[in-house]
Amino acid sequence: MGLKIGVLAVQGDFAEHSKALVGVGAEPVEVRTPEQLDGCAGLILPGGESTAMSLLIRSAGLEQPIRELIEAGLPVFGTCAGMILLASRISDGREDQLSLGAIDISVRRNGFGRQIRSFESDLSVRGVDGPAVRAVFIRAPVVEEVFGDAEVLASVEYTFDGKGSLRVPVVCAQGSILVTSFHPELTDDLRIHEMFMVMIERSN
């Protein structure tokens, strides 16, 4: 078996991430308790509802261990709700919302609008060769600001209600942290997960 990669499994589409990890030759471990983080070479925070995930991370006693692992340089990949959890600033969130502060971006929850505005699009992502990446955005967060050491690897053009067409970042990275506003786990394209595996290899 390949490297053990934890997938936070308190709520959300963790099963799709596990499937993608198997596809890139890794061994997924569902994480619901702190002990399950032991021996993981990386961690994925999946899509889901970030408010519910915040509560469940805290009640499971996972907040502190995850913070410490990020501090120690553990590679972490967050999609959608996972991106919100990893961002250093959340606008429009709840006051008690968990913010791990792992990447220097500011995000707005549901920034693309309600479900009726959820969409798919073809993107080019820096570091991903070949055809465009089909990106599925579900009530996705919008990255409003990128600062510090965070870099933008992909962006999308989108017509926002009342603001017109804007280009906004949708894939960002900083050190060993990778975040996407969309859900690479919902398609069969494994290239973003492969990119995360390369980040893990480089961090060792």
Partner: protein, 296 residues
């Protein structure tokens, strides 16, 4: 206009939201205050309706789509997805709910059916639909009409989990039988289930329903949620069970924890303690109306 082509309302986008709700609890709420309690307790979505099923049973009469103003108040109060119900076959109610931008429409047997022959053509909408089912054939017929999520029906408003268990076992059991069938048997199975052959063949190939399978109807305790999850549900709807109980906030929180940790009896034990009186349940024999028999 965007330089690249952004596509809305695709099957993947519709089913995608259901995928995001997995492992979560969707709670029935009748006003903005209840919606806030639900969100604070960790609900992944709320179902906005004027009367919970227990009250619909008590009051009788025709149950219809809720007042849009009431749904709007809830949309303004919470950041999690807001769902709302339309009557079976009532596509005009669904059009209104889509214009309101609810996140999911439940074409629901809890409301009085509007059409005795046809369900809504759900493909013609951009907002996704969830539909109830008592067995696999019914689930596949709803999926072929465009449903992006299936919930086992159970018997809403009873606080009695027995029908939810029956429906879930029936759906999951029939999926399992398809996966071990020979290819030539699939045509006969499609006929038995009165379902499209392509969907039966897809189950054979993937081993699961083409859309997420959630459980609803009669769940009232953390143990009920854990039972549904262990039987194969991917998330749970709790209706009357929360706000008809003595301490809704505490019970809601306990059911959220139980749905995440459904295989961990030590956590189930912890969250089941001292959560106040549950709703009073009803035996199936005492029911005048079986809501699950609505739709086909």
């Amino acid at each position: 206009m965007e330089s690249q082509h952004n596509e809305i309302g695709t099957a993947r986008v519709k089913r995608g939201l259901a995928e995001m709700l997995r492992g979560g609890v969707i709670m029935d709420v009748v006003n903005a205050d209840q919606a806030k309690i639900a969100e604070d307790a960790g609900a992944v979505a709320v179902m906005a309706l004027e009367r919970v099923p227990a009250d619909i049973r008590r009051d009788g009469g025709v149950a219809r789509m809720s007042d849009p103003a009431m749904i709007e108040e809830i949309q303004a109060k919470v950041t999690i997805p807001v769902m709302a119900k339309a009557r079976i076959g009532h596509f005009a109610e669904a059009q209104i709910l889509q214009a309101l931008q609810v996140d999911y429409i439940d074409e629901s047997e809890v409301l009085t059916p509007a059409d005795e022959a046809y369900h809504i053509d759900k493909w013609s909408f951009e907002v996704p639909f969830v539909c109830g089912a008592t067995n696999l054939g019914e689930a596949l017929r709803r999926i072929s009409e465009g449903a992006a999520m299936i919930r086992s029906k159970g018997e809403a408003g009873t606080g009695n989990v027995v029908e939810a268990v029956r429906h879930l076992r029936s759906i999951v059991g029939d999926i399992r039988k398809i996966t071990v069938s020979e290819p030539e048997e699939l045509f006969g199975l499609a006929k038995i289930h009165q379902a499209p052959y392509e969907l039966v063949a897809e189950i054979k190939r993937t081993g699961k329903l083409p859309v997420p399978l959630f459980c609803a109807g009669g769940l009232a305790t953390p143990a009920d949620a854990a039972l549904a999850m262990q039987l194969g549900a991917e998330a749970v709807f709790v209706g009357s069970g929360i706000f008809k109980s003595a301490d809704p906030a505490k019970r809601a929180r306990a059911i959220v924890e139980a749905t995440t940790h459904f295989r961990d009896p030590s956590i189930l034990l912890k969250v089941s303690r001292n959560i106040g009186e549950p709703m009073v349940g009803i035996e199936m024999d005492g029911l005048e109306t079986k809501m699950a028999e609505r739709g086909w």
